[in-house]
Each structure stands twice: as structure tokens, then as C-alpha cells.
Symmetry: C2
Subunit: 365 residues, 2 copies
């Protein structure tokens, strides 16, 4: 059981390889890419503890000279300062233009490593080995790399494509369940915006709340179809000038909720889950979507153990105001991605403010 | 008297506009590019003192909202830290993806600004207004941007193309003469490696040591043909995989001399001048080049007030060793760019070490 997805871009095409228990084959898989012999693995202590040895061994067996650089876990380390530390290590090991950074970790490690690779010696090679579900289905595909500014997320960065995305689904066994569900929110998103078939396959599962709930086969389907969905979208819009916007489905109200709850009480995936419920309700009220499909979406979000209501202590006015502040707002109009039927969405900035307030009120609990 | 050079690249073509006394037309020239209304001008205090007001006024008259950010002069400020300060200002003025950074300065300001533009919001617009001769004919064309690492020059950076390079030769009147001559070294380089006609036009001038020596017409020719040469080369090799190497003519031994003299006693242009004399001498000894042409090159370097000898206190062994350390060395062989006739060079790593030592010894004085 294995899948290979080609991400076709004008200049920098690459493959996403998905195969269970494949971690020990990373070195072999990299060989045909013709990369230089030096590899620097970037990870965090927890993940490297689990998977560092097998990755390093696999690379060394394939003939690479391997070193590693660990960054403490957490979004708070996704900074320019962590990048400067990676540069120091790159220099210490005398990496060359032909050398490769391997990102072994979740989205934080992937974004950091990609940006370091994009900017060391004006660009060296970069391989993604995502270990969180979110990184597998979202962060590792699409070429966005970067770090946070003290005053805003992902403000610093570059578009930079990996040479390979290498996914071993079995590493998800050590991922905390709440992180698993955060990734599932993005998977459901792909079902609603792009792939009805993925959606119905998710509906068939009894449980979806953790890695242990899923048959290996369903997990393979989830990863393959999600990566394919993201690859389809980003290869049609490499630099985020149009179509990519649909990937923000559920993220508009989601971001507002994340930010108003201080990015801790409610995590990204939970906020996106709520955001999708809200976007569905807006689409329904605007008669763009049907009640049965909206209910099916919400049932799937529930089954995954994600939230479907807005915390009642959040002020409706504050949410609407936060939406207006979003960097994607053009001339005061909030842009929404709204479902029209399972697998299809439209982009609109025509959502009336009172309808928005009404939907938010109704979703409070 | 004005020239427009098109730099044709697969994705990001742009123009180099060269016209005397054109500084006040920058805003107008930018208008057809369809950039957003916010502009942040990056400069240093000295240059901004001379030309800031006219640039800001021109931009404001064209309808832009303009702010500025000054960085102290000098290579020692070409750091990641200066980039972080630019980010802070970009955030403070809420720059958007459609906003533009204008680099008003020499190569240091250009490299810093380009890298900040490449990495803020994953890439915003960028316009070069080079004010040193070196920046006009070299640094501002080709898309290399970046900063120094404490342990090495230009190790951090990105390839990122400007939307426009806007050159007003008249700003060179305030450039210190030694900086002028540093730029002339690169101009002579283009004559030898690419454009025999440029070379012969330089030969015709009586004096070439400072801005005040040059007729406006000759200056226009120098800038136009130099930019055209660099544009020709980089558009055939955007990411430095082959042809661009010829731009390193004179830089191989030049870098060694710069580094062994601590980057202060002998500046980059002077080192390149010596490096060209040395490369010419090697080519002559290898019977690749003729004596009359080598003499013409050396006479032109002399006339420009550049050095043609290696300082005698430098140890020949140390120079050869330093060459071996260069990052462009592949498997121990030093790569040289050697002239074969005026306007043509070849790339070779077949220079015997003893011949190299002999040439260095002979050039000492
Ligand atoms: N580049 C993009 O296109 C893109 C897209 C979406 C999100 N992101 C970014 O991704 C980041 C979020 O990614 P994330 O959710 O993976 O967060 P993360 O990288 O912080 O990982 C979440 C937690 O799970 C742990 N972890 C990951 N894999 C594990 C495993 N196999 N076993 C045990 N523990 C494991 C990590 O150590 C961390 O503590 C954010 O910074 C976000 O901005 C980027
Ligand atoms: N990106 C590239 O392709 C490329 C190519 C060559 C060099 N460079 C970089 O360019 C830098 C060197 O550029 P540079 O020689 O312009 O150095 P610089 O930017 O330091 O300028 C030299 C000095 O001249 C002053 N100056 C510049 N224009 C002036 C004017 N019109 N009037 C008065 N003073 C003026 C500056 O303030 C500075 O003190 C180096 O950092 C080098 O790495 C980059
Ligand atoms: Zn998301
Ligand atoms: Zn140079």
C-alpha cells in the first residue's frame, strides 16, 4: 500500500510519497534526486527521540553524511532567531548549495526548515518528512515556508518548494490525539471544498477521533486524497493569486476565534471546525447550500471530536470586528469561502454583516 | 539621453531605466507597474540626506503613501539584524503584498532591501534606485539579494527580482572617488569578458578616475553597456548554474587579496583590478591570450587609478591557500575565468599550481 502524488509546477515539480512503515527507506528514496552528500536533519527533541535514529541511519546507509539540529517544540520557536541558529549549524557543517535540509516534524519544523533552506546560500535542497497529520495533509505541501514576527503569524517567509515530501503514516501513532483531530479538520475541509468522495469515505468510518480509530487503509486514503486536493489547488496557483483562497474555507471565522481565545484554549483545528460550521450556516442562509449537506458536514465534524459551537463567552461584535482586521480583507469587505455542494465552494465578499452576526449568535453555546 | 534595457526572464522580466537627472521622475516611472499605494524607502543617512527629499516628493506626487527607513552606512550593517529592523518598520506601516520597498543606495542597501522584500509577507514589490557605480552596473542587476553571516559574506539570501531598476547617473557626483573606481573595475570587467566595444570606448577616454572626468555621454555608454552585459549574462542563467561564472573574472585572486588584507586596506574594486591583471597573466602564460591585448587591459586598469600589482607583503603561499578555500572550488581544483580575446573568456580548472605561484610572484611590488 503506497501512493505517489506528483505536484506539477512550471519550475519545481516534486513528488509526495505516502507509504506505511517507510521511514527507514528515506535515504533510498532520496538517492534518485541527485542531491549532494551532506544532509542536515532539523527536528525537535520529542520527535527526534522517536524517529531520529531511524532517519539518520537510513540516510547514512544511503551514503549521506548526516548531522542534526534540534529546536525546542512549539509555535513560540517559529522565529527568525531559530532560523539564525539553523544558519550557524549549516555553517558549522559547511553545507553547500547541493546539500539538503530534512524537516522531520510538524508544521512548525517544516515551516522553519523550508525558510532556512530557501535562504541559506540563496537556496539549498529541502525534503519534508512531516510527522503531524496537519503537516502531512497541509503544511508540507504548497511551498509556503516562514516564521512568525513577534506581532503576527507567518509574516516572514518565502515560497520555496521541497524536492520530496515523504510521509510515513505510522508515525502518527505517537501524535497526541488533540493534534490528530486538528489535522482531521483540514481533511474534512478538503472533502467539502474539493473532494466529495473523500467526504463520503470519512462518513463511512465509525470513529475518527484518533490514529487508533483508523484502519491503515482509510488512513492511506485520507492522506492520499488530502494531499492530492492540496496539490491540485496549489499547482493551479503556485503564488497564491486566486484559487488558493478556497483553502481558507473555515479559516475566516476560525482565525477570529483562535485569536480571541489567545491561541491556546481553542486550537487551530478546533477553530477551523467551528469556522466550517459557521460558513455552512452562512451558505445555508444565503440559499447557496442545502440543509441535508450542511447537516452531513456538521455531523462529520462532531464525529471527529471537533467543536461545532462558538464559546458563549465570546462577544459577537468582537468576532465581527476581528474579521474586519484580517489581512485578507479588501476595502472593508470580508471574503468568505462558502460551500455550494459537497466538493464545491464559491468565494464571495457579499455576506451582509447582520446575517453574519445572526449566524454567530445562533452558533453560541 | 536615456536608455531602457529589458531584462528578460521566464517569470519576472523588468526594465533598467538609465537617464541623467531623472530622480524626480521615479514616481511617474513606477506608475505603469501597477504597484500598491504604499512605498517604504530604505536608505542610509548620507544618501538620504542628498536624495531622500527628491525621491519622496516624486513618489508622493505620483500618489504613493511614502515612509522611509534608514540603516547606518557600511557593510557591517548588512546583517539579519538590519533585516529584522526593516520588518518592524514594514509592520508599523502595515505594508501589504502589493506594497513596494524602494532601495535608495549602494550595494549594501540594495542587497538588504531586496532580501527584506523577498521575505516580508513571502514577497512584496521591490524597486532598485542604485546610487553607487558598483550598484548601478553590478549589484542592482541579477536578482541576488541577501546579507552576511558573522562568519561569511552573502551566506544568507534569496534570488529575487526587482520590478524596476532606476538609474540617475548624476547621483554619482557625490560618490567618493575611491568608490567610483571600485565600480569602474566591474565596468572594465564587462569590457574584457563580454563587450569589446565597451572596452575600446573606455580606452578612448583621457581620464577615468572620477565622475568629474567623464562626459555625460561616455557615462551613459558605460552604464548602458555594463547593465546590458550583466543583463545578457544573468538572463541566460538566472540561478547561477553556469554562464554567470564568467562574472567572477578577476574575482578569484581578487577575493583572496581582499580577504588577506582584511577587507579594508584594499577594497573590492582594487582587488578585482589586481585579479584581472593576474588572470590576464595566467592566460598569457597558458597561451590562451595575446600580449598586446593583455597590455591594453592592464593600461586601462592603470588609467582608472586601480592597482595592478599585488602588495609585496602578501605571502604567495597564503594567496594560493586562500584560493583553495574559496567556496567555488570543486574537489580541490581552483576555477579560473581566463580571457581568450577581448570580449571573450573561457572557464577552466586546469591552471597548474606552480604557474599560479609564478604569476603571483611576478605581480608583487
Ligand atoms: N506552510 C503551510 O502551508 C502551513 C499550512 C498550515 C499550517 N502551517 C503551520 O504549521 C504549524 C502547525 O503545524 P502542526 O500542527 O504540525 O504543529 P507542530 O509542528 O507544533 O506540531 C504539533 C505538536 O505535535 C508534536 N508532534 C508532531 N508530530 C509528532 C509525532 N509524530 N509524534 C509525537 N509528537 C509529534 C510536535 O512536537 C508539537 O508539539 C503552524 O506554525 C502553522 O502556521 C503551515
Ligand atoms: N547583489 C549583487 O549581485 C551584488 C553584486 C556586487 C556587489 N554586491 C554587494 O554590494 C555591496 C557593495 O556595494 P557598494 O560598493 O555600492 O557599497 P555601499 O553600498 O557600502 O556603498 C559604498 C559607500 O558609498 C556611499 N554612497 C553610495 N552612493 C552614494 C552617493 N551617490 N553619494 C554619496 N555616497 C554614496 C555609501 O553610503 C557607502 O558609504 C557589497 O555588500 C556586495 O556584497 C552585491
Ligand atoms: Zn488550517
Ligand atoms: Zn565584484
Amino acid at each position: 500500500m503506497s501512493s505517489l502524488i506528483a505536484v506539477n509546477l512550471p519550475d519545481n515539480s516534486y513528488n509526495i510519497a505516502i507509504a506505511p512503515d517507510s521511514l527507514s527507506q528515506l535515504g533510498e528514496q532520496m538517492r534518485p534526486l541527485g542531491l549532494g552528500h551532506k544532509v542536515l536533519v532539523i527536528s525537535n527533541p520529542e520527535i527526534f527521540h522517536h524517529y531520529g535514529a531511524i532517519i539518520v541511519q537510513s540516510l547514512e546507509q544511503a551514503g549521506y553524511t548526516v548531522s542534526s539540529h534540534l529546536i525546542p517544540a512549539g509555535e513560540s520557536y517559529k522565529t527568525l532567531d531559530s532560523i539564525a541558529r539553523i544558519y550557524d549549524t549549516a555553517l558549522q557543517h559547511r553545507l553547500e548549495r547541493s546539500s539538503t535540509l530534512v524537516a522531520l516534524g510538524g508544521g512548525v519544523i517544516g515551516d522553519l526548515t523550508g525558510f532556512a533552506a530557501a535562504t541559506w546560500l540563496r537556496g539549498i535542497n529541502f525534503v519534508q518528512v512531516p510527522t503531524s497529520l496537519l503537516a502531512m495533509v497541509d503544511a508540507s505541501v504548497g511551498g509556503k515556508t516562514g516564521v512568525n514576527h513577534p506581532q503576527g503569524k507567518n509574516l516572514i517567509g518565502a515560497f520555496y518548494q521541497p524536492k520530496l515530501v515523504f510521509i510515513d503514516p505510522q508515525v502518527l501513532r505517537t501524535l497526541p490525539p488533540r493534534e490528530f483531530r486538528a489535522g482531521m479538520a483540514e481533511v474534512i475541509k478538503y472533502g467539502v471544498i474539493w473532494d466529495e468522495d473523500l467526504f463520503t469515505q470519512l462518513e463511512k468510518a465509525d470513529r475518527l477521533q484518533d490514529f487508533s480509530d483508523l484502519e491503515a487503509e482509510l488512513l492511506q486514503v485520507i492522506l492520499t486524497r488530502s494531499c492530492q486536493a492540496k496539490a491540485d489547488v496549489v499547482s493551479q496557483d503556485e503564488r497564491e493569486s486566486g484559487l488558493r483562497a478556497i483553502l481558507n474555507y473555515g479559516h475566516t471565522i476560525g482565525h477570529a476565534i483562535e485569536s480571541l481565545t489567545g491561541y491556546s484554549r481553542i486550537n487551530h483545528g478546533e477553530a477551523v471546525g467551528i469556522g466550517m460550521v459557521a460558513a455552512g450556516a452562512i451558505a445555508l442562509k444565503m440559499q447557496l447550500w442545502t440543509e441535508p449537506e450542511a447537516s452531513r458536514q456538521n455531523a462529520l465534524i462532531s464525529k471527529t471530536g471537533l467543536l461545532t459551537h462558538i464559546p458563549e463567552d465570546l462577544d459577537t461584535g468582537a468576532i465581527v470586528e476581528s474579521l474586519q482586521m484580517d489581512k485578507k480583507v479588501k476595502s472593508g469587505k470580508v471574503r468568505f469561502i462558502l460551500p455550494t455542494q459537497l466538493g464545491k465552494v464559491k468565494i464571495t465578499d457579499e455576506v451582509p454583516n447582520d446575517l453574519l452576526g445572526q449566524v454567530i449568535d445562533e452558533l453560541k453555546q
